[in-house]
């Protein structure tokens, strides 16, 4: 079975942990997030008839915007960039974080999850904001940890991208 390390990235209170909780059953308690700064969960799914085990590193959002611990994301095969659709600032922070991670890890698969889509009345993002990203080739999924909307899809999209890249014979080009 293929194993892949995935990071959940996003500023504080965007719902990363809620998304993971919606997606997996945990071994470790969420106390780890506030102590060690990371909580790890596991999810196995099938992509193109191949089983993939995703090790989900749920990183604690930094108080300072757009900060990331490089050691935590090192070795990741992809990441889920999470922002809060009701907080425009978190959206911008996510874009900033993407830049930071690209600087550390290079171009690796990622999916942008715009969370809290169930709070449509408080929605702070315009369609054009999303379309701009999509135009740049970003995979963007509207999610709701509360209703479960888009959660499976976000992870599956990410896994598919990762496996697609995995099956590309990189060694021959390196």
């Amino acid at each position: 079975m293929i194993q892949k390390k995935i990071c959940m990235v996003g500023t504080f209170a965007v719902g990363k942990t809620s998304l993971v909780r919606r997606y997996v059953s945990s071994l470790f308690s969420e106390k780890y997030l506030t102590t060690v700064g990371v909580k790890i969960d596991k999810k196995t799914l099938t992509v193109d008839n191949e089983e993939v085990m995703l090790m989900l590193w749920d990183l604690a959002g930094e108080d300072e915007f757009c900060e990331i611990r490089p050691s935590y994301v090192r070795g990741s095969s992809g990441y889920l960039l999470v922002c809060d659709g009701t907080r425009k600032m978190s959206f911008e922070d996510a874009i900033c974080l993407h830049g930071k991670i690209s600087g550390i890890l290079g171009d690796i698969p990622f999916v942008m999850a715009i969370n809290k889509h169930d709070l449509k009345d408080d929605w702070a993002l315009s369609d054009s904001d999303v379309q701009k990203l999509k135009a740049q080739g970003w995979q963007v999924v509207l999610t709701s940890a509360k209703t479960g909307e888009g959660v499976e899809q976000a992870f599956k999209l990410l896994a598919e991208q990762i496996m697609k890249q995995n099956n590309t014979p990189q060694r021959e080009y390196s």
Binding site: Q3, L27, S71, R74
Partner: protein, 597 residues
């Protein structure tokens, strides 16, 4: 034009014009290609020949396979499915050849596995038995119940000095688990997540405390659990140890990690999340699953403890011996009491260190304390509780008869069943009273006094002295006819007896005749026997006469060796044969001495 088109032309053109054209072309080819054309034709023929082609491939195939395996594993991957299918087909068709081929390998492997399993089981059972009845075991049983694990696991965990429970081989970069092994008794939880978390904790320490990148978290300790981490260039090895690990375990870890890096260098370098190939690291990781059970060391016991133990042992031995000795004495006492006539034991009891004996006792029976032995009776502190009774055993009937009748010395008494037989001489008055009193004796129903003769007092004295003298024996040394020592000293006593006999005989108006009978042993001739026996009788006669007795009282007889003593049987008994005895007779003056036969 290709060689193929050449043969094709030969095969289909049959008309003369076309044939001519082909021949022309053939010549042209020869002209253009020369010898190469012939070689091309030969090569074509070889390619068309399937046998030759197979032979050609067979020649180069081994080298080609070797080259391919050196370069990459594509050939292995390509053949993998075919080999698996071939194995399946072979087993379906006839499993025997494969079984025969694997037998030499599977046998030892199974034996080794069974041996190891049994050894582990034995260790577990040993420790379970050893700790099954201690105070600690109760706590462990509670722990087992509380944690939901088996008691055996708890025992093993607590009795090990240390045990490496789990080993994690982790990709250093991603924190993904490459391989994981655990001991049979370890409780494992999702090693994939644990390995990622171990990596995260490493990162946390590195980020939080600004340590050198080359340094790493080497050890974590929580209670009796220690996690040791050994860092390699591409992978890290973490082991979870229960107990106190020895220092050299880190050396083992380092060697293991080096070996894994050496053997699996390519796989580590190109790791992309597929941990399948790292299953091959299991033998290396198993080297780290070390353990050491608690060994009961020789404890040095203090001299005081030894002294106390020795004292206690001596006291225990003394107490046990006392118990044994008392038991033996008590059994001996009971045996004696049960066998003693005149005592009938009905009940015995031990109460608070005292022994109580109940039963019946004839007043003529011996004192029970005397029967048991005064010392034993005192040691056992026996309390006697006897009721009186009359024992009818012959011994007690006789004792009771003697007590009641008080017979004179001249009277003999014999009891046969319930009959009392009286013989000898006794005063008439006593005889009359005895006949009446005898019937009062318990156990006596009739009395036989036919052998009892009435006699006056002087007659009783005579018969008493007569019986005495007739039982007297004077002994002589071998070949001697004179008395020496103590035997000679008896003469005055005999003189006194004979004088009393003479006086009482006179009172009875009878004459006394004492026959002195000489005896000899069987040595020598009959004549010598007679001579020496006569000489001995004469010597005694002369000695009595010399002490004042009249010679008319005596006559002598030589018995020789004809009457050996009944007590002279056996070694040294012949001394009793060399003797002189006496016979007392009352005769009228007119009577002569009755010759001895």
């Amino acid at each position: 034009m290709s060689p193929l088109s050449h043969s094709h032309t030969q095969a289909i053109h049959t008309d003369p014009v076309a044939l001519q054209q082909d021949q022309d072309l053939e010549q042209l080819r020869h002209l253009l290609l020369g010898k190469d054309y012939e070689e091309l034709l030969a090569l074509k023929a070889r390619l068309q020949d399937s046998t030759g082609r197979a032979r050609f491939i067979a020649e180069i195939l081994p080298a080609a396979v070797q080259l391919s395996s050196l370069d990459n594993d594509r050939l292995t991957q390509a053949l993998l499915q075919n080999v698996e299918d071939a194995l399946h087909a072979s087993v379906r068709k006839n499993p025997r050849p494969l079984v025969d081929a694997l037998f030499p390998v599977i046998g030892p492997a199974i034996r080794k596995s069974i041996t190891e399993t049994l050894a582990e089981l034995l260790q577990t059972i040993n420790q379970m038995v050893e700790h099954s009845l201690s105070a600690r075991s109760l706590k462990w049983r509670f722990d087992a119940w509380r944690t939901g694990t088996s008691y055996a696991e708890i025992v093993l965990k607590n009795t090990l000095i240390y045990q490496v429970e789990q080993a994690f081989l982790i990709d250093r970069k991603s924190g993904l688990l490459l391989n994981h092994i655990s001991s049979d008794t370890a409780i494992t939880k999702d090693p994939d997540m644990v390995s990622a978390m171990l990596t995260a904790i490493q990162d946390f320490i590195t980020d939080s405390f600004q340590v050198n990148d080359q340094e790493n978290l080497q050890q974590m300790r929580f209670g009796d659990l220690t996690v040791l981490i050994e860092l390699g260039p591409r992978a890290l090895l973490a082991v979870a140890i229960r107990g106190n690990p020895p220092d050299d375990i880190r050396q083992v870890m380092a060697e293991t990690l080096e070996q894994i890096h050496l053997i699996h260098s390519d796989a580590l370098q190109s790791y992309d999340g597929d941990s399948e190939s790292f299953i091959a690291t299991t033998p290396q990781l198993e080297r780290c699953l070390l353990s050491q059970a608690e060994v009961k060391g020789v404890r040095h016991t203090s001299p005081l403890t030894w002294l106390l133990l020795m004292t206690a042992f001596i006291f225990l031995g003394y107490w046990l011996y006392g118990l044994y000795d008392t038991k033996v004495k008590w059994n001996t006492a009971l045996d004696r009491l049960y066998q003693e006539p005149g005592l009938a034991i009905t009940n015995t009891e031990e109460r608070q260190g005292r022994y109580i004996v109940r039963g019946l006792r004839d007043e003529l029976a011996r004192d029970p304390a005397q029967v048991v032995g005064a010392k034993i009776a005192e040691q056992l502190n026996i309390e006697w509780k006897f009721q009186p009774y009359i024992a009818l055993a012959p011994k007690f009937t006789r004792l009771r008869a003697e007590q009641i009748l008080q017979p004179p010395d001249s009277t003999q008494m014999v009891i046969e069943g319930n009959r009392l037989i009286l013989t000898g001489e006794a005063p008439q008055q006593w005889i009359n009273e005895a006949r009446q009193r005898a019937l009062l004796i318990p156990g006596i129903q009739n009395t036989d006094t036919r052998g009892l003769h009435a006699a006056e007092q002087h007659e009783l004295v005579f018969y008493e002295k007569k019986r005495y003298l007739e039982s007297t024996i004077l002994l002589f040394e071998y070949g001697q006819s004179s008395l020496t020592g103590q035997q000679a000293e008896r003469i005055p006593e005999l003189v006194s007896i004979i004088e009393q006999l003479k006086d009482t005989a006179a009172a009875m108006e009878e004459l006394l005749n004492i026959i002195i009978i000489g005896h000899s042993d069987s040595h020598g001739s009959v004549q010598s026997h007679n001579e020496i026996s006569m000489a001995r009788a004469e010597y005694v006669k002369q000695a009595l006469i010399e002490n004042g007795l009249p010679s008319s009282l005596f006559s002598t007889v030589a018995m020789g060796a004809r009457q050996p003593s009944t007590d002279s049987q056996g070694d040294g008994g012949e001394i009793l044969d060399r003797r002189v005895t006496f016979q007392v007779q009352l005769v009228n003056q007119a009577d002569s001495v009755e010759p001895i036969k």
